[in-house]
Each structure stands twice: as structure tokens, then as C-alpha cells.
Amino acid sequence: MKSSCLRPLIVLMLIAGLAACGGKASYEVTGTISGLSNSGLVLANGGDTVSPAVGATSFTFPKRIDYGTDYNITVKTPPAHMNCSVSSGSGSAGHYVSIESFVLCQQNTYTVGGTITGLTVDGLVLANGSDANQLTLVKSTTTPGTFTMPAQVADGSSYTINVVTNPAGLSCKVDTDPATGLSTGVGVMGEAAVTKVKISCTAV
């Protein structure tokens, strides 16, 4: 009889103890970031936003959320010249011990290419610096022919497209831009694909 009285008492005390803690458990909405080298990133969880600084490796939203509340971390604004993806960014608070999402940011990349005249024989090889992704072209089926290098170039990086191997019987060269006196195969990547490289091939 004594024991049956003690048990409910203990249960009541435990409940009282938990209630003193603040009722429901609440969770910080946090994550780690890698590659954030430009400013401007804004992450959102519903209406709550956070703007990690350049070089930040972690973030925490200003508002905590209660146990059982759904969260969904999204990229509201990407950093300048970059794109970011979120993984483990959605779920229900309390499903795991803590909310730990991952944000990976990478510089935007675009293709480099252009037009080519006189390519009547297969086998022209083009390269961009020491990038292993070289381009081997077959003879053009359009006039002028077009080409796009296989590897993209990051926004802000330079490129130097050159002829590595000529097709048999042809001599191909990257044209000079009369405005700058420099090769049209040289430049720095902006925020769109480059299509201005001009190559001319002549019979030798």
C-alpha cells in the first residue's frame, strides 16, 4: 500500500521537474558551411534568415524551434559568383539529437568556346593551359564551325585557348583581337559562357 502511493508521487515529481525546464525541448537550427569565399549568402528557414559572413564555416539561425517543428533550410540568395547547395537541411526537430545541416558553396563555372573557319580535316586539338581536358575536333559541318571546350572555367579565372595539334595539311591559329592586340583565346571568365574565341585554319 505504501509502495503504490510512492510511485505516483515520484511520477508527479518527475513531471514537475521537466516542466521547470521549459516544457517542450527547443532546438537550434545550425549547420556547417564550406567554400564560402564571396559575400551575399542568405539562408532561410521559413521566415527566419541568417547571413553568414565570407569565410564562415558554420551558421545558426536566430530563432530556436520546438520539438516536432518542421524545418527546411534553403538558399534564399546565393553569394556573388557562387552557387550553394544544402544537404540534411530539412526534417523535424528532435528526430536527431541536434539539427546539423551542410552547405557547400562553389564558384560558378561557364564554358569557353567560339567559332572556327577552314577546318576541312579532322584532328585539330585545342587546350586551355595545363587542363587535362583537351578538345579534339573533327572537320566542321557548318560555316563557320563552332566549338566548346569540355572543361568549364570558374568565374574570375583566366583561360588561354591554344592550338596544340594541327590537322594533317592544315595550319590553324587562334586569331588576334585587333582591338587589344591579344589573342581572342585569352580572357577572364565573367558571368556567362564565352563564345568569342576565333580560330582560322588554312591549307599548308
Binding site: G129, S130, A132, S158, V186
Partner: protein, 192 residues
């Protein structure tokens, strides 16, 4: 009593079956992963067993199977030409996990790229090899790119920007990196 007899019969049958699996008595592949191998000529060995690993391979397995609890010690017998490889997890006692858990990491040998400049009377020249750039100052007669180039890789160097009042050209802008530092590029600047 009958139970014990049956059990030992089963054990003997199992042992016989396992032994039948391979002439050398093994049933585990000895090998692992290969990272960064862009050159040919790599030869690995384990005891008397030798294995050539081809350029571009991402895994390797010795032809001879090993038994559980066999000791293995995978070594590099011959390095690839133009690259250096190292092994981790190549030594141990074989079990179904460890025997295929070695990692061979290879790095293509790197060399510097540079050359000589004449007529550079002003600041502002920028040379580029793809995304790698260098800005030799006025009166420089030599330059070396900070980024190295792998043995056998192509380079395509251009004048990225001329100094004010000068026009610079490279007489040998395209080539293939050999097995030593390259200082053969020739840049000449003349008044524009």
C-alpha cells in the same frame, strides 16, 4: 553423444569444401583502391606475386587469392614513370575486410614552367597558362609561374595583358612538360 559426432562431421565437411575453393588455399582477393594514377609503369608486389597497374586504374587485385589469417605486405616494386605512389593499409593479416583495403595514392611529378623576357621596360605584363598567371615587373629578364605543371601535361601560355606602350609576344607558347623544370619560354616585348 550423437550430436557431437554429427557436429564434427559437419565441421570436417565444411573444411573440405573451403579447401576446395582455391589451389593456394585462399578465397580472399588481395587488393584495394588506386588514386591519381595518370602514368604507366607501376608494379606492385606481395611476396612472390607481382602486379602491373595500368595508368588510370582505380582498383587493383593480385591474381593469387589469399587465405584468412595470411600475412600480406604489399610493396611498390617499380614506381610509374613521371609519378610517385605510396601505399597505406598494405600490410596486415588477411580477413574479408582487410584484404581489399589497401590504398595506393599517386601524384604526377610536378615541374615549374618559366622562361626569359626581353624588352620589358614597364610594369603591367601579365602572362597566363590557363588559370595560372604571373605578372613580371619592369626590367625582369626571367619568370617562373607559381603553379607547377605535371610531367607530360600540355601548357598553353599567352600574353594576358600588355604593359602600357609595349607589345609582348611569346615565340614558343605551346608545349609539353618534360621530366624537369622548364625555363624555355621566350617572351619579347617591343614598343607598341
Amino acid at each position: 553423444m550423437k550430436n557431437v559426432y554429427l557436429r564434427s562431421m559437419l565441421a570436417a565437411a565444411c573444411a573440405a569444401t573451403l579447401a576446395a575453393c582455391g589451389g593456394s588455399g585462399g578465397n580472399l582477393y588481395l587488393g584495394g583502391n588506386v588514386i591519381g594514377l595518370a602514368k604507366s609503369g607501376l608494379v606492385l608486389k606481395n611476396g612472390d606475386s607481382e602486379l602491373e597497374v595500368l595508368s588510370g586504374a582505380t582498383t587493383f587485385y593480385f591474381p593469387n587469392l589469399v587465405k584468412a589469417d595470411d600475412r600480406y605486405d604489399i610493396k611498390i616494386l617499380t614506381q610509374p614513370k613521371g609519378a610517385t605512389c605510396t601505399i597505406t593499409g598494405g600490410t596486415g593479416k588477411a580477413n574479408s575486410y582487410s584484404a581489399s583495403n589497401a590504398v595506393v595514392s599517386c601524384i604526377t611529378d610536378q615541374y615549374t614552367l618559366g622562361g626569359s623576357i626581353s624588352g620589358l621596360t614597364a610594369d603591367g605584363l601579365i602572362l597566363a597558362n590557363g588559370q595560372s598567371q604571373i605578372s613580371p615587373l619592369a626590367n625582369s629578364t626571367k619568370f617562373v609561374f607559381a603553379s607547377t605543371v605535371g610531367d607530360g601535361a600540355t601548357y598553353t601560355v599567352n600574353v594576358f595583358k600588355n604593359p602600357p606602350g609595349l607589345a609582348c609576344t611569346i615565340s614558343n607558347p605551346v608545349g609539353t612538360m618534360g621530366s624537369k623544370n622548364n625555363d624555355t619560354l621566350i617572351v619579347a616585348c617591343v614598343p607598341a
